[in-house]
Point group: C2
Chain length 231, copies 2
């Protein structure tokens, strides 16, 4: 059965966990605070991004355009010029302060994206994770982003199904045994543990070492070869 | 002497000459007509794009962001929400109605962009030509766009110099003997004629067939090989 979809954890799998995007996020919610609370605005941003995905993709420029459209939406056309200018500036900052992918990640995603659909599967909030994906320059490799409240077997089952794949044709890769590995295996998928940082590798508790669909890798760069050798 | 820069004509060299972008252009100038005439707004758009080039590049999303910034600039922050919405819609239309590159052009540019800087050199107006470059999906291959009022030897000399190259290290490729070939040769550059449409190939008047720096090609796809064989 071919691998048709690859789920990837975000923080500490694709990049170091950066905090600089909290300020962009706060700025955006503050600008729009007259029109709704942060949760409501985040939900609207998610709708706008979803609608624009086929046109804009997941890059920083598209993210900026979706922020602008969200601002028009939630304000019902009442957004100020200065807010528009602030959002443009937020987008430019995102592009100028890139999130650095971990070594080898870009090269690995290039290969993986030719082989299967890539979906970012991560906890946390949409704005923050999508802003980081946009700023990482890795957005174009992904066909989907799933922000989930927890990572259970049911979550992986639902996400892989939603993207048109049987969970048995899916690989999940991440740095957490508890969140990325065990529930993905329970859903019937393959799972690749990429410990972070490297020194933790031998301390990774409870890694299901003998499981036929599990593999521990030193880096994402080893993932294409492992997937290539799957039955 | 290595080729360090390649100038490319736009209409009928990279794509068929499309007219659908006239409407986007008119819409943009109409929206901003309270703040200046079309020429003044075009000049401001050129400044904004130049300033953002390193951040946005020449794609459709960056073009849209630059239109928005221009609108804020020329209106001194007085632009209406509905105008912002119209500009976002103009950008999305641009992305949804792409300009189709001529056969083989994308593949050729991919190879050429790894070898030298690519500069679009074209007559016409900035908005229209940059909008088409953005909508063609070819924008990321280019490091510069030069909209020129005429194509003389002095023009090519100045453009290639401005981008840091000796004109003798430059190649100009286009479909017009008069505009793209003869003046580029006079500037000391190489010149490749790519007649359009193909049936005109044998009617191309005055092509300087014996010139050591000239070559007539059937398609842009032949350009990398010719350049590769230059002394």
């Amino acid at each position: 059965m071919p691998v048709t979809i690859i789920g990837l954890d975000a923080d500490d799998t694709l990049w170091h966990n950066e905090s600089i995007f909290r300020s962009a996020q706060k700025r955006f919610y503050d600008l729009l605070s007259p029109y709704g609370d942060a949760d409501a605005i985040e939900a609207r941003l998610a709708e706008v991004e979803h609608r624009n995905l086929g046109t804009y993709g997941y890059g920083a420029k598209g993210f900026t355009l979706s922020m602008l459209e969200t601002a028009l939406d939630v304000s019902r056309g009442d957004v100020s010029s200065s807010a528009v200018g602030e959002i443009l500036a937020t987008g430019r900052e995102m592009m100028k302060h890139p999130v650095e992918p971990l070594p080898g990640v870009r090269e690995a995603l290039e290969v993986l994206a030719e082989r299967a659909r890539l979906v970012l599967i991560t906890k946390g909030d949409l704005f923050h994770q999508e802003a980081k994906l946009a700023a990482s320059g890795l957005g174009d490799f992904f066909s989907g982003v799933e922000i989930v409240s927890d990572k259970s077997a049911a979550t992986y089952h639902r996400v892989f199904r939603r993207h048109g794949s049987d969970p048995r044709e899916a690989v999940m890769a991440g740095n957490s045994v508890r969140s990325d590995i065990l529930p993905a295996l329970e859903a019937g998928s393959y799972a690749a543990l990429i410990p972070y940082p490297l020194v933790w590798a031998h301390e990774a508790a409870d890694a299901p070492a003998g499981h036929p669909r599990f593999r521990e890798l030193e880096s994402l760069t080893q993932l294409p070869v492992w997937i290539g050798g799957l039955p």
